[in-house]
């Protein structure tokens, strides 16, 4: 096994040496990014069996847990880290055929966002969570602007919302520290019962605002469509596949481990349902394909939050499975849509008509990912949709089940509209040369079909991760040990 700290440390090192690599050879930065993310995946895999047996605590600086900063990598963090680094790896393959104007700076920020998101899921310390969220968002603000054009406005909007959110998050951290006297997540969780209930309410609300921005929750998600539409495709992909997964992880960590109270789950449930319905309804009306994917993405986030906050073990498992599927499918949707957009020279759905025969790989990738999201049998989305419906029925939440099904129907309508345009209409435009995405499409299609046919593949991590979320006393015991 390799030391897991490298997952954060190596991308940071490679990010800041990127200008040197660029000087050596102008083609080098994109390969460095690919190699770094591949190395991260290997490090994660080499630690897999060990983490499944017992969560890993990495004490930084050689001091014991409550006194020094520690990293905590349990099954949940492992799943999230796999999603983040996996998305970054696939998008690095996609980036090989892309040319960015300042490519050393692009890959510098790309590795920063990977390191930041990985840090968010691995940290065991509230303040470091804040620092990693800031690393991730600052990298995201700057990455967006690589598309030029209107991306500056989108980035400015995100920067203002993110800046206000980070003030609230810091305020919440300050209140928590003043009430508990520690920033270690396990120590806060152990003494959360002693916090004054009113202060706990305010603090939870502040955390919800601060992290809800990363997790794309209503009403803090109006930056999402602009960023996803204007940013380069690889950036939209990593925001949707990695950063939002890290946001959901942070949300679960705060509300299940730190302050597990039924009323907060009820708030999350309501927010999640509103996000889901609103996202699907607006996605249905979109004419811009990237904007449609953005609204679909935030609707999926709403679905995941809804299901996880039902709080039963089956529901949490279903929500996590949906999170995994969402990362895989949205990365594939964004890269295929990116190729189709640059082939057609337009982001409008009606301009993509007939591209199915001219751009077979991208159209196939888009179609299979859309089918996955809709929940066609033998694809991964079917299993997670099935688990979601059955778990919400078992939790006696009939209204929630009905709303989830209604949202799924709207989803079917707008995804099939695009697929129909791709294959059943005649080509009206001249096709431009575009990126080659054969390798990512094959890899992701294998994953989609693999998880759909044989979901037991990830049954063990899901089981362990759900158990970890629902039992915060085990988290406290593992970190604090005998103290």
């Amino acid at each position: 096994m390799v030391n897991l700290t490298l997952i954060i440390a190596l991308p940071l090192l490679m990010a800041f040496t990127m200008p040197i690599f660029k000087m050596l050879n102008s083609k080098l930065p994109k390969f460095i990014a690919l190699l770094t993310t591949a190395f991260n995946l290997i490090v994660l895999s080499s630690n897999f069996t060990e983490i499944m047996a017992a969560p890993l605590i990495l004490e930084l600086g050689g001091w014991q847990a409550p006194f020094a900063i520690n990293l905590y990598v349990g099954p949940l963090a492992l799943v999230a880290a796999f999603l983040i680094n996996g998305s970054a790896f696939i998008l690095s393959i996609y980036n090989l055929s892309q040319d960015y104007q300042f490519d050393d700076k692009f890959y510098l920020l790309f590795l920063m966002i990977t390191a930041g998101a990985s840090g968010m899921v691995m940290t065991g310390d509230l303040f470091n969570l804040f620092v990693f969220i800031e690393i991730t968002s600052i990298a995201a603000y700057s990455l967006t602007t690589f598309a030029g054009g209107s991306s500056y406005e989108a980035s400015f909007k995100y920067l203002i919302i993110g800046g206000v959110g980070s003030v609230f998050l810091l305020l919440g951290i300050g209140f928590t520290y003043s009430a508990v006297g520690s920033l270690n997540l396990a120590e806060i969780a152990a003494s959360a019962g002693l916090i004054n209930p009113l202060l706990l309410q305010i603090t939870a609300l502040l955390f919800l605002i601060g992290i809800g921005i990363e997790a794309e929750l209503f009403p803090l998600n109006f930056w999402v469509p602009d960023i996803y539409t204007e940013a380069p495709t690889a950036v939209s992909g990593i925001m949707s596949g990695a950063v939002s997964a890290a946001g959901i992880y942070a949300l679960a960590r705060i509300f299940f481990t730190l302050f597990p109270a039924q009323q907060f789950f009820n708030y999350l449930l309501v927010i999640g349902v509103i996000t889901l319905i609103m996202g699907e309804l607006i996605a249905y009306q979109q004419e811009n394909i990237k904007r449609m994917l953005a609204y679909s993405s935030l609707a999926q986030m709403g679905l995941i939050v809804t299901v996880i906050s039902l709080g039963t073990e089956a529901a949490v498992k279903a929500g996590l499975f949906q999170l995994i599927n969402h990362s895989i499918l949205k990365v594939l949707l964004f890269i295929s849509a990116g190729v189709l957009i640059s082939a057609a020279g337009s982001k409008k759905i009606k301009d993509l008509a007939g591209l199915g025969t001219k751009k077979p790989t991208a159209a196939f990738g888009f179609t299979i990912a859309a089918m996955g999201i809709l929940g066609v049998p033998f694809l991964n989305g079917f299993i997670s949709k099935f688990m979601i419906i059955s778990s919400s029925l078992n939790a006696d939440q009939f209204l929630i089940t009905f709303l989830i099904l209604a949202a799924a129907l709207i989803e079917i309508a707008y995804y099939l509209k695009v697929v129909q345009k791709l294959y059943f209409e005649d080509l009206e435009i001249e096709v431009k040369n575009t990126a080659v995405i054969t390798v990512p499409v094959i890899l992701l299609t294998l994953l989609i079909i693999g998880l759909g046919v044989y979901p037991q593949l990830i049954a063990e991590p899901l089981e362990k991760a759900a158990a970890e979320i629902l039992n915060n006393s085990r988290y406290i015991m593992t970190v604090l040990g005998g103290i």
């Binding site: 620092v131 209107s150 909007k157 300050g174 520290y177």
Partner: protein
């Protein structure tokens, strides 16, 4: 009364500063003013964090021959460490924001957000 004021002016003042900043972010139309308001919010929360770690008549938490190791005589060092980090982050965000404002100004020749198509919210 005076004691009470002394004790709470830091908390009240910094919360007030945060709300002034929030009001500015929500109501101003000028992009530079929005960023200044964001800076005010940052300052407010930093002040609040320092105030949380304040201990009356205590020294800076540095161990030397004048100040022997005695936890009771020191102010809480952790909020100060947090504030240092958060000041750096706040500065970086503001600098990036100003750079974006420059780019947007180049394109539209205006700082008013209601005249910029992509910024309406």
């Amino acid at each position: 009364m005076l004691n009470f004021l002394e004790e709470w002016s830091f908390f009240g003042g910094s919360i007030l500063l945060i709300f002034i900043g929030l009001y500015g972010v929500l109501s101003r139309k000028n992009m530079i003013k929005i960023l200044i308001s964001l800076g005010l919010m940052d300052t407010g929360v930093n002040l609040l964090l320092v105030a949380l770690g304040y201990v009356e008549a205590a020294n800076a938490p540095i161990i030397n021959s004048v100040n022997p190791s005695n936890a009771a005589a020191f102010v809480d060092p952790i909020p100060q460490a947090l504030v240092l980090t958060s000041i750096v982050i706040g500065t970086a965000v503001l600098a990036l924001g100003l750079a974006l404002v420059m780019k947007i100004y180049d394109k539209y020749s205006t700082l008013n957000i209601s005249e910029i198509r992509g910024l309406k919210w």
